[in-house]
Amino acid sequence: MKTRDRILATSLLLFNDEGEPNVTTVDIANEMDISPGNLYYHFKGKEAIIEAIYHNFDEELTDILRAPLDNNVSVEDSWFYLYVVFEQIYSFRFFYQNLSDILQRYDSINKRFKRLLDLKVRTAAAVVNELIEHEVLDIAPDEIDQLCNNITMTLTYWITYRQLRSPGQQEMQLFHDGVFQIIHLIAPYLTEDYHYIYRQCRELYEAAVAQLNS
């Protein structure tokens, strides 16, 4: 791995573990066993590092969120798809944990993040509409927007919220809970023929959690 990438990877690790405000560039250099001068050669300060990390995250999540819009995710894969979204957000949790602070400090990130939120809503709408088309869901058209915003809110704040409620949970537990939470948002709208999906999801969720705790 090149030094630049290693700096980004190490920074992300430290930010996630210690919290972004508690990590300095000297900490990052020390962790990597390089001189602060060498780090400065690649990034002229923490701001540049955060912007580069955000850039990578934004591109990756954008690709993930665009997949359903381009019909690249089958209905059967929706469940796993949600896990991937949560995993991506979790890998970048320092940002979500300190969201309003970072958005205030970085105008460029602020703009991009708003676009990302917008994309989350559109992606949720695309998936919901697809499920309506397959007669899996039955929702009044004027309720779709509320549902999609609820899904977006859960996706965005779930991990932060869970970590506030019960700190130190395993990441897989967070994902299981988050995915199941979103299934719960959708469940009231399942058509009769597809009620079994909720039952299965509950079964799967319980089995997965039991497996995790065994």
């Binding site: 050669y41 690709d63 796993f80």
Partner: protein
Amino acid sequence: MAKAKAKSKTTTSKVSPTDKAGDIAKNIWLAGLGAYGKAYDEAASRLEKASKDTPKLFHDLVQKGEKLEANKPEEIEESSINKIHKNARADIEERIEKMKQSLDITRLFSSPETDIERLEAKLDALTEKVELLAAAVNVKTKPKAKAKVKSQPKAKAKTKAKPKTKAKTAPRRKTVARK
């Protein structure tokens, strides 16, 4: 680096202006490569020491750069961000696949028909279990049957020694709740 740039202009002054500019640009690029190959702080300390023979240091770096360029120029040129981005595009299907494997849940979104199949399989397994238990209550059953029926040890333990398993499972549940 700024000093070095200025000096290099004087050393290549014989060539035509455009060539000169090209040469300078090339040399700066090569010097950059040289610096890349060398640890930055080492170069900095050398720069301090050798502030008087900067041209020499510069030429050293150009030479190192030339070596590096001959070796692997394209790897250095390719932006790491681009690489990551390219990977991400091909990633989605792969990531979903990986997630599937790590979750080990393939039964999701199966139809009610496969549900019935699952129940039938369960029933078969249970029947087998009962038969096995009837045949050999105290003896360890054949390994073949054991592998087939996953939940067998549990059931066996239940029938064999009820109080023991109760004591075992009860505290486990507690720890789960605490978590």
